[in-house]
C-alpha cells in the first residue's frame, strides 16, 4: 500500500524499519541498507533491513556467506533490543538455514503466541513442521498463514503441502495461483515457476514443465534451479547434449551434489568416462570440504553416492545424521535408498514404509520403493 512510501518518506532510512522495498534489485537494496547502517550504527532497524537484504541475496545466489553476515547483524540488533520481533524473525530464518528445525519450531510456537497476527511466523512454523514430518501441524500453521495473508508465499506453501500429502492436482492449482500473484521480487516468482515446473515434470507433463522453467529464466536469468529443471526435461527426452549443457550452466552457478550426480550419469550415457569421473571427483571434494567443516549431514549427497554406488558407508553416515535433524518423508526415502545400497534390506523396507506414509507422488520414491520391495 501507499503507506510504505509515506513511511519511508517520513522516516529517516535508518528508522524506516521493516519497509523492505522489494521492488529494487537486491544489490542496490544492499547498498542502500549499508548506507543506512553506516548513518546510524547500531540501530536495530537498519541492521535488520541489511540482514534481510543479505538473506534475499543468499536466496538468489545460494552463497551461505550471506547467512553469516546476516547473523552478525541480527546478533547486534538483538543485543540492543532482545525482544525485537523483526530480529527474532530473522534469527529464526537464519536458524532454519542451519537446519535447526526443532529449535526453530519451539521458538516459533512461542512467538506465534505473542504475535499471532504475523503471517510470516506461521509460514516459518509450517516450514519447520514439514521438515520434521509433523504434517498435520504444518497444515494448521499454513492455514493460519493463508487466513492472514493469501498470496504467493502462502499459496506456494499450500501447493507444497498438497503435493507431499498426495494431491497433485490440488498442488498444481495452488502453485498456479502463486505464480499468478507474481509478487514483486523476480527471484520469488522464478521460485514458484520452477516449483510449478517440477510439479509438471513429476507428473510426466514435460512441455508444461519446460515452459515454466523457461519462464523462470525469463523472469530471473541465471536461475540455477531453472537450468537444472530444463536439464531434467532434456534428459527425459534423451537430448543428452542439451541436458549436459543445462546442468553445466546450473553447476557453474552453484555446484550442488544433485547437479554433479546428474552430469556424471549423462556423461556416462555419452561414454565420456573422464568427464564422469571429474564429476565424481567434484563430489568427493565437496564432501571433503564438508568434513573439514564438521558437516556430516547431507541427504542429497547421500542419495547421489548411493545412486553411484560409491562410498556407501559415508552415504549411510550422511543420511543417518540427517535423520537427527529432520524426519520428513524425503529423509526417510534417502535413508531407505542408502540402506538398500548397503544391503540392509529389512531396515530399508522400514524406512521406505515411513517415506510412503503420506502417499507423496515423488517419482524417486516410486523407483526406490520398487527396488527395495525386491530386496532380500
Amino acid at each position: 500500500m501507499r503507506a510504505w512510501i509515506l513511511t519511508i518518506a517520513l522516516l529517516p532510512a535508518a528508522f524506516a524499519a521493516h519497509l523492505r522495498d522489494e521492488r529494487i534489485p537486491t544489490d542496490q537494496r544492499i547498498a542502500e541498507c549499508q548506507k543506512a547502517v553506516a548513518a546510524a550504527p547500531g540501530d536495530p532497524a537498519a541492521l535488520e533491513d541489511l540482514a534481510a537484504a543479505y538473506l534475499q541475496k543468499m536466496r538468489e545466489t545460494t552463497d551461505f556467506s550471506y547467512v553469516d553476515r546476516a547473523e552478525k547483524l541480527v546478533a547486534q540488533a538483538l543485543a540492543r533490543k532482545p525482544d525485537d520481533l523483526e530480529a527474532l524473525v530473522l534469527s529464526n530464518q537464519i536458524e532454519l538455514n542451519r537446519h535447526h528445525f526443532k529449535k526453530v519450531a519451539a521458538n516459533l510456537r512461542a512467538l506465534v503466541k505473542s504475535a499471532p497476527g504475523d503471517a510470516r511466523l506461521w509460514g516459518m512454523l509450517g516450514d519447520t513442521q514439514m521438515e520434521i514430518g509433523d504434517y498435520d501441524a504444518a497444515a494448521d500453521a499454513y492455514g493460519q498463514m493463508l487466513r492472514l495473508r493469501p498470496g504467493l508465499s502462502s499459496y506456494n506453501r499450500v501447493a507444497w503441502y498438497r503435493f507431499v500429502t498426495g494431491d497433485v492436482d490440488g498442488a498444481i492449482y495452488a502453485m498456479r495461483q502463486a505464480v499468478h500473484v507474481a509478487g514483486a521480487v523476480p527471484e520469488n516468482l522464478a521460485w514458484c515457476l520452477v516449483d510449478l515446473g517440477n510439479l509438471y515434470f513429476k507428473t510426466g507433463k514435460l512441455p508444461e514443465a519446460e515452459a515454466n522453467y523457461q519462464a523462470a529464466l525469463n523472469v530471473f536469468p541465471h536461475y540455477h534451479p531453472a537450468f537444472a529443471g530444463l536439464g531434467r526435461v532434456q534428459a527425459a527426452r534423451h537430448q543428452t547434449a542439451d541436458a549436459i549443457a543445462s546442468f553445466s550452466r546450473a553447476q557453474a552457478i552453484v555446484p550442488l551434489p544433485d547437479y554433479a550426480g546428474a552430469l556424471r550419469d549423462l556423461y556416462l550415457e555419452q561414454g565420456k568416462t573422464v568427464e564422469a569421473h571429474q564429476q565424481e571427483a567434484l563430489l568427493d571434494l565437496v564432501d571433503r570440504l564438508a568434513r573439514a567443516n564438521f558437516d556430516n549431514t547431507d541427504r542429497n549427497l547421500a542419495i547421489v553416492l548411493a545412486d553411484e554406488q560409491r562410498q556407501l558407508g559415508r552415504a549411510l553416515e550422511l543420511a543417518q545424521n540427517e535423520l537427527n535433524f529432520r524426519q520428513d518423508v524425503y529423509t526417510y526415502d534417502a535413508l531407505a535408498w542408502v540402506l538398500y545400497r548397503n544391503g540392509r534390506c529389512a531396515e530399508a523396507k522400514d524406512a521406505m514404509a515411513k517415506a510412503l506414509v503420506q502417499h507423496t507422488p515423488e517419482p524417486n520414491f516410486i523407483k526406490h520403493a520398487a527396488a527395495i520391495g525386491e530386496c532380500k
Binding site: 500500500m1 510504505w4 532510512a13 521493516h18 505473542s114 571427483a281
Partner: protein, 507 residues
C-alpha cells in the same frame, strides 16, 4: 584437482574461504514476504465531486509504480482479485453499502506478441488500424481487453443484498497508453471508459497517471529533502514561499508512472442516511479462499479473504506495530480498537523529536483521534464519536472548494473540503501527515512547523471532471522527472502539451 574445470576449481576455492558449510542438503525455503501487487492498494480517495456537489466520488488505486513503457501486456487488473469500496453511513464503522468490481480478461489474438497494436488505417492486412475505440470498430488492435462488473451490495453479512449495476452495458477497463501510433487520441479513447450506469452513477476503471506525488529519492536518503533540509541541515522545513506555492521545488519521483484506478461517482443521497451527512469509507481487496488440506474446495467456493484495506493513507506501516500488520490488513475497521494503542503513541513523533529536535506533543496523542473516530471536526458537535476505526471520513454537506481556492494542505490550510475531511486527489498527504504527526492539530508551537518534501503538486494536472485523475502517461513518450532536470515549477501544461521547464534542484 588438476582435472577439474577451471570454473569448478574457482567455485571450490571460494568455498574454502567461507565459514559456513555451503553445499549441505538444502531445506525448502519458499519466499516468505512476497508482495501482492495487483491487490496492493496505493491510495484511496473520497470527496464531494468538484463539478457536481450533489455527488460523491470514490477512487481506489492499486498496483503501484507502473512503468508506462513496460509492455507487452502492461498491467491489467487481476481477475482473481475482488476490488471493493465500502461505506459506513451510520457511524458504527460497519459497511452499509459496498461497491464490488470484478474483471475479466479477454485475449483475442494469443499469437500476437503484444496486447495492443495498431497503426493508421492498418498495414498490409497484418497490423490492424490504430486503436480508437474500446470495443467494436477501432478496437481490432486491442488483443488484450478487460471487461468488468459492478455490483452494489446493501447491508453486510447475512443480510446483504446485491444488485448488478452494469445493466445491459459491457464495461471496458481503459488500457495503458502505449503511444501515439497505436493510440493516436488517447484522451478520447480513455474517455470512452467513463460509463453512466443510470440513477446518477458513473464509473471508470483503467490505467491512469499515478495521482500521488512525493520526492521519494530524498526520502530514501535519510529524509534529505532538497527544499529546506539542504539549507537548514536536518529538518525538512519549507520556506514560507515554498510552502505557499502551488508548484514543485523538488522533483516528483512518481512523475511519469502509472497506476490502476477504479472510480465511481454516486449521488450523495444514495450513500448517506437522512440527517447523517458524514460517511466513513475505505477500500479493500480480496482473494478467493483456499484451504490447505486436500479434498476441500479449491475454487469457486464463494468465500473471499481480505488481502488489504486502506482508508487514511498512513495507518498500517506508519502506526501499526510490526507483529500486527497482517492482522490489521485482514481485520475490519469496526475492530480497530485493538490497535488504538499504536495510534496514541506513534513512533514517527518520537523520531521527529529524537532526530530533528522538534518538540512534539507528549503521548497519549489524543489529538490524533479525529483521524480514527467520527468527531466534531467532521460533523459538528452532535455527531457520535463511534468506535475507533480507520475510515476516511467525509462530511458530504461541505461544499467542494473551487479549483483556484483549494489548499494542498486541506484542513490544515483552511480548506474544509480537503484531507482529512475526505481526501481529494490533489491533497498533499505527505506534508499533511508529517505536520499532523508533529502535532499540528494541537496548536502552537507544533502548528508552526512547515514540514514538507518540496513536491506540492502532481507532475501533470488532474482533471476537474470525473474521474478527476489524469489519464495514463504514454509508454513511448513517458518521462520521469529527475533532480537536475527541467520539470519543476508551476504545473500548467496539459499532459500531452508543453513540458514543464523549471529546473528541479539537485540539492
Amino acid at each position: 584437482m588438476k582435472k577439474l574445470t577451471p570454473y569448478v576449481a574457482a567455485i571450490l576455492s571460494a568455498f574454502l574461504a567461507a565459514p559456513t558449510p555451503m553445499l549441505a542438503a538444502s531445506h525448502r525455503e519458499a519466499p516468505l514476504t512476497a508482495l501482492d501487487h495487483p491487490a496492493d492498494i496505493t491510495d484511496f480517495f473520497s470527496f464531494v465531486s468538484y463539478d457536481d456537489p450533489t455527488k460523491v466520488t470514490f477512487i481506489l488505486c492499486v498496483d503501484p509504480l507502473l512503468e508506462p513503457a513496460n509492455g507487452p501486456n502492461y498491467f491489467p487488473f487481476d481477475p482473481d482479485v475482488l476490488y471493493t469500496i465500502k461505506i459506513d453511513n451510520n457511524y458504527d464503522a460497519v459497511e452499509d453499502l459496498t461497491f464490488q468490481f470484478q474483471f475479466n480478461t479477454n485475449i483475442k489474438a494469443p499469437g500476437v506478441f503484444t496486447g495492443f497494436v495498431g497503426a493508421g488505417g492498418g498495414i498490409g492486412g497484418v497490423i490492424p488500424p490504430a486503436i480508437t475505440s474500446l470495443s467494436g470498430p477501432g478496437a481490432a488492435g486491442l488483443s488484450l481487453s478487460q471487461t468488468y462488473t459492478v455490483n452494489m451490495v446493501t447491508g453486510s453479512g447475512a443480510n446483504a443484498t446485491s444488485t448488478n449495476l452494469n445493466g445491459k452495458q459491457t464495461l471496458y477497463a481503459v488500457p495503458s497508453n502505449t503511444g501515439p501510433r497505436t493510440m493516436p487520441n488517447y484522451p478520447a479513447l480513455a474517455a470512452q471508459g467513463i460509463y453512466n450506469l443510470g440513477n446518477g452513477i458513473s464509473v471508470f476503471a483503467g490505467t491512469v497517471d499515478d495521482p500521488f506525488y512525493i520526492d521519494l529519492g530524498a526520502a530514501f536518503d535519510s529524509l534529505n529533502f532538497r527544499s529546506g533540509a539542504y539549507q537548514t541541515g536536518l529538518i525538512p522545513m519549507l520556506s514560507q514561499q515554498q510552502d505557499a506555492a502551488n508548484s514543485n521545488s523538488s522533483a516528483d519521483t512518481l512523475s511519469g508512472y502509472n497506476v490502476n484506478c477504479i472510480a465511481i461517482q454516486v449521488p450523495i443521497g444514495m450513500v448517506t442516511q437522512p440527517g447523517k451527512p458524514v460517511i466513513g469509507s475505505w477500500g479493500a481487496t480480496y482473494r478467493a479462499a483456499m484451504t490447505v488440506r486436500s479434498g476441500a474446495p479449491n475454487q469457486n467456493s464463494g468465500d473471499w479473504v481480505q488481502v488489504q484495506r486502506m482508508a487514511n493513507p498512513l495507518i498500517n506501516e506508519l502506526i501499526i506495530g510490526t507483529g500486527d500488520k497482517d492482522n490489521w490488513s485482514r481485520a475490519v475497521p469496526s475492530s480497530d480498537a485493538q490497535f488504538a494503542a499504536y495510534a496514541l503513541n506513534p513512533l514517527l513523533a518520537t523520531v521527529f523529536n529524537l532526530v530533528f529536535g522538534i518538540a512534539v506533543p507528549p503521548a497519549p496523542r489524543t489529538d490524533l483521534l479525529p483521524l480514527v473516530q467520527y468527531a466534531k471536526v467532521f460533523g459538528g458537535p452532535t455527531i457520535p464519536a463511534g468506535p475507533v476505526a480507520d475510515l476516511l471520513r467525509l462530511n458530504t454537506s461541505v461544499a467542494p472548494t473551487a479549483a483556484g481556492s483549494r489548499s494542498r494542505l486541506g484542513l490544515l490550510g483552511g480548506d474544509g473540503a480537503g484531507f482529512p475531511n475526505g481526501r481529494r486527489v490533489s491533497d498533499d498527504v505527505t506534508d499533511i501527515a508529517m505536520r499532523v504527526v508533529a502535532g499540528a492539530l494541537v496548536g502552537a508551537p507544533y502548528n508552526t512547523y512547515r514540514l514538507g518534501d518540496g513536491v506540492n503538486t502532481n507532475d501533470v494536472p488532474y482533471q476537474e471532471t470525473f474521474p478527476y485523475v489524469a489519464f495514463a502517461n504514454s509508454g513511448r513518450n513517458r518521462r520521469h522527472i529527475d533532480p537536475g532536470e527541467s520539470g519543476c515549477g508551476p504545473v500548467t501544461s496539459v499532459f500531452n502539451g508543453s513540458p514543464i521547464v523549471g529546473p528541479c534542484p539537485m540539492n
